[in-house]
C-alpha cells in the first residue's frame, strides 16, 4: 500500500519489532501455564455441555473435581471416563451433571485415551471445517452485495427472542454484522450460563443456546437480505476461551477478543488474561473467526488526542499476540475509535489522520472502527451529525468493520428506530462519497500528515519504554489507559496453574498443528 501520509516504513517496522520484543517474555509465561477456563474450554471442544440441577455447568463440575490435578490437564480424565463408561459425551455430561465424579474413575490406558482424543479432535475439525465452508460459500455467493466497511450494530434487550426481532429489522435495513452485547458483569462470571435466556441487564447472556438461536435467525433472514449476516459475541472476561469454543461450535463470525482489555478494564488478573487470550485466539484462528480488539476503550478513559499513541501501541501488541496464536492478519479486527472532543479545532483532521494511519500500518487487517460515545449527549441532533462525520472518516480511510453510532448513545440501549436512523445515515454518507477515498491525497507536511507522523513517533517511544519495563511491569505502573493493575491482583488469579511435565491437552496439540505453531 502506498502511504498517502508519507509515514516511514522503517519506523513501522521498528514498532513491530518492539511489539514482538514486548510479547516474547509473556508468550514464554503463556506456554508454561494453563487456567481453569482453558481446561473447561478444552472439555467443551470435546463435547462437554449441560448443567447440574443446581445450574453448575458440566465443564466447571469436571474441572473443579480435578482441581489438584490441573497441572497435568483434565483432558485425560474426561476422555478416560468416556472410555470406561462406554458413553457418548452427551450421555457422560448427563451423568456428570447428575453427580458422577470423573476424578474417582480409574484411568484408562493412555494409548487408548490418545486414540479417542484424535477421534474427538477430528470430529471438532469436521464441524469447524463445515462452518468455514458454509460461511465462505455464502460470502462468495453474495459478494456483489458486500459493503465496505461492513455495517455493524448491537442488539441488547436482555431477551434473546426480542434480540432476534431487533436483529432481523436491523438486517433488513442494511446491517451486515449483528453483535449481541452481553449482560453487565457476565465478564466476571467464572462460568458460562446455560440455555436460552430472557433476562439481562444492559445486554443478553452469552450462552451456547442463545448463540444457536441468533445464528438460526440470521441464517433465516439471509436470502431476503441477499447477504451473509455475521454474528458477533464477546470472547472476553473470565471465560474467554470457553466463549471462543462455543462460538467455533455455533458458527459465530466475530468475537471481541483483546489481549489486555480484561486486565485494564475488568480487573482480571494479568497472568490469567494472557494465558486465556492465547488459547481463545487459537480457537478463533482455526474457526476463522475475526477478532475485534478493544482499543476504543483507551479513549474513553484517556484523552483521544494525548493518548492516541496508546491505541496504535496496543494494536501492535494485539497483532503480535494474535500472530503468536497462529492467527492470520485477515482475521485481526484491530480496534480504534472516533472519540476526539468535538469542540476541538481541527479535531476532524486528527480523526482522519488516526484512522488513515491505522489503515496504513495494518493494510491487510479488517480494522474495526468504533463510533463516538464519550462526547455524545442528550442532544440527539448533534449526535446524529457527529455520527455522519464518523461515517465519513470511516469510508474516506478504508476501514473494514464499522460499528454504527447511535444518536441515543448517551441515553439508552438503542430503540428500533435508532438503528434504522444509524443505518440510513451511513448508507447516505458512504454512497454519496463512494469513490472519494481514491481521490484523496494528503498534503505533504500538512496538518494530517504531521499528526500521523507524530502519533507514530510517540508510539515508538511508548513501545520502547514498555519493552524496557516489560509488559507485566508496564501494566502494573499504569502505562496503559492510566490504570494500574498489580501482577498478582485482580480476579481469576487462583485459576492460573503451572503446567507439569505430564501436562497433556490434545486440543492444544491439534490446534498448534493446524495453525502451524
Amino acid at each position: 500500500m502506498k502511504s498517502k501520509l508519507g509515514i516511514s516504513a522503517a519506523k513501522i517496522a521498528k514498532a513491530r519489532r518492539l511489539a514482538a520484543q514486548i510479547a516474547a517474555p509473556v508468550q514464554k509465561f503463556i506456554a508454561g501455564h494453563t487456567t481453569t477456563t482453558v481446561e473447561r474450554a478444552t472439555l467443551r471442544l470435546m463435547g462437554a455441555d449441560m448443567v447440574s440441577s443446581g445450574g453448575v455447568p458440566v465443564p466447571n463440575i469436571a474441572v473443579d473435581s480435578l482441581r489438584d490435578k490441573l497441572s497435568g490437564g483434565v483432558s485425560r480424565w474426561y476422555i478416560s471416563a468416556l472410555l470406561k463408561t462406554g458413553k457418548t459425551p452427551q450421555e457422560l455430561n448427563a451423568d456428570i451433571a447428575g453427580g458422577l465424579d470423573i476424578s474417582k474413575l480409574p484411568l484408562a490406558d493412555f494409548s487408548a485415551i490418545k486414540k479417542a482424543a484424535s477421534g474427538l479432535a477430528a470430529q471438532f475439525d469436521r464441524k469447524v471445517s463445515a462452518h468455514v465452508a458454509r460461511r465462505n460459500g455464502r460470502l462468495n455467493r453474495y459478494r456483489k452485495n458486500a459493503k465496505s466497511p461492513l455495517l455493524y450494530v448491537i442488539v441488547a434487550t436482555g431477551n434473546i427472542h426480542e434480540d432476534v426481532k431487533q436483529a432481523r429489522a436491523a438486517v433488513l435495513q442494511g446491517a451486515d454484522v449483528i453483535a449481541v452485547i452481553r449482560t453487565t458483569a457476565q465478564s466476571l462470571l467464572d462460568y458460562v450460563p446455560f440455555g436460552a435466556t430472557t433476562e439481562g441487564f444492559g445486554g443478553t447472556y452469552a450462552t451456547q443456546e442463545n448463540f444457536k438461536i441468533m445464528r438460526a435467525a440470521l441464517d433465516e433472514v439471509e436470502p431476503q437480505a441477499g447477504r451473509y449476516i455475521r454474528l458477533v459475541n464477546y470472547a472476553s472476561g473470565l471465560c474467554m476461551p470457553e466463549i471462543a469454543a462455543m462460538g467455533a461450535i455455533e458458527r459465530l463470525d466475530m468475537m471481541l477478543n483483546d489481549s489486555m482489555y480484561g486486565i485494564l478494564f475488568r480487573d482480571i488478573n494479568m497472568y490469567r488474561t494472557f494465558v486465556d487470550q492465547n488459547f481463545s485466539r487459537m480457537i478463533n484462528a482455526r474457526a476463522e473467526i475475526i477478532i475485534n480488539t478493544g482499543e476504543d476503550n483507551y479513549l474513553t478513559t484517556s484523552d483521544a488526542v494525548e493518548k492516541a499513541h496508546t491505541v496504535l501501541a496496543s494494536q501492535l501488541i494485539n497483532e503480535r499476540f494474535a500472530l503468536n496464536a497462529g492467527m492470520e492478519k485477515r482475521f485481526m479486527g484491530l480496534g480504534h475509535a472516533f472519540e476526539i472532543d468535538p469542540s476541538l479545532k481541527n479535531g476532524f483532521l486528527y480523526e482522519l489522520a488516526q484512522a488513515r494511519l491505522a489503515r496504513e500500518v495494518f493494510p491487510e487487517h479488517p480494522l474495526k472502527y468504533m463510533p463516538p460515545t464519550k462526547f455524545m449527549t442528550g442532544d440527539v441532533f448533534k449526535g446524529y451529525a457527529m455520527n455522519a462525520m464518523f461515517n465519513f472518516v470511516s469510508k474516506a480511510t478504508g476501514q473494514s468493520i464499522h460499528l454504527l453510532g447511535m444518536l441515543t448513545e448517551a441515553i439508552h440501549t438503542p430503540f428500533l428506530q435508532d438503528r434504522y436512523l444509524a443505518v440510513t445515515n451511513a448508507l447516505y454518507v458512504m454512497n454519496a462519497m463512494d469513490g472519494l477515498a481514491g481521490e484523496i491525497e494528503f498534503k505533504r507536511g500538512g496538518i494530517i500528515a504531521k499528526r500521523a507522523a507524530q502519533v507514530l513517533d510517540e508510539t515508538v517511544d511508548f513501545l520502547e519504554q514498555t519493552a524496557e519495563t516489560g509488559l507485566f511491569g508496564a501494566i502494573e505502573k499504569g502505562m496503559f489507559a492510566d490504570i494500574k493493575r498489580p501482577k498478582n491482583g485482580g480476579k481469576g488469579f487462583d485459576g492460573v496453574v503451572e503446567k507439569g511435565p505430564d501436562y497433556w491437552n490434545p486440543f492444544e496439540d491439534y490446534l498448534k498443528k493446524e495453525l502451524g505453531l
Binding site: 436482555g158 453487565t184 458483569a185 441487564f201 478494564f265 478513559t301 484523552d303 448517551a410 428500533l416 428506530q417
Partner: protein, 244 residues
Amino acid sequence: MMVKAYGDTLNDGSVQLSFTLPVKCSGKAKEAARLYVLKLGFRECQIVEAAPLSDEFTFFVAYGRTDAAIDYDRVDYTDAVGEDRLSMDEVNAFIREKFKRHVVVVGACTGTDAHTVGIDAIMNMKGFNHHFGLERYPMIEAHNMGAQVPNEKLIEFALQVNADALLVSQVVTQKEVHVRNLANLIELLEAGHLRDKFIVIAGGPRISNKLAVELGYDAGFGSGAYADDVATFIVKKMEESIRR
C-alpha cells in the same frame, strides 16, 4: 405564567415527535399513527415521515400542536447546588479556610455496573468538558474505586480512608437496577449506623436530585453536572453540619 411549547409563534404549542408502531408500513399505518398522536392529547397532528423498519414495524416523524400549558411559577424544583456554584479555586480556598484539612472523597461505580464514564468525568484528573476532576483539586483527596464495586467494599474502603463523602455512579438503569442498588447502599449504611458519617451522593445520566433525595441520599446529579458542582455541594454541606 402559563407556558406552552414554542414552534414559531408564542403559544402555538408545537411539538416534534418520533416513534415506532409495531405494524407494517402502509397508508393505514400512517393514519393510525396520526390518530395515536391525537390520542396522546394533541389537537392537530401531521405525520411528516413514515418509514418501514421491517415487515412488522414502522417509524414515524410527527408534528403536533397541543393546548396543554404549564404554570411556570408553580413548578416545584430544587437543584443540589443551585446558582452559586464555586469554581475549583474557590472550592480549594473554601476548604483551606473552613476545614484546614483535606476533604476525602471516595467514588465508585457500584454493583454490576461497569460504566465508569460518569465517575471518571467527575473524579479523573482530566475531568470532562473543560471542568477538571476532583483528583486535580489540591485540597481534595480523591479515591476512584472504578467499576463493579460492591456496596460493602465501598463502605469498607470509605471507613478505611476516613471519607467525608461517597460518590456513587449508576449508568445502567435497565429494569430499575440502579434504584435497587442505590437503595441497598443506604440500607447498609443505616444498618451499620454509618449514614450520618458520610455525605452520600448519587450520580448518573438518569439520576435527579429528587430521586436521590427520595432514596435517602444527600444529593443527586444528572447529566450536565461537573466536578465543581459536586465539590461545591460537598463543601457547603460540610460547612452546614459544622455550623449545626
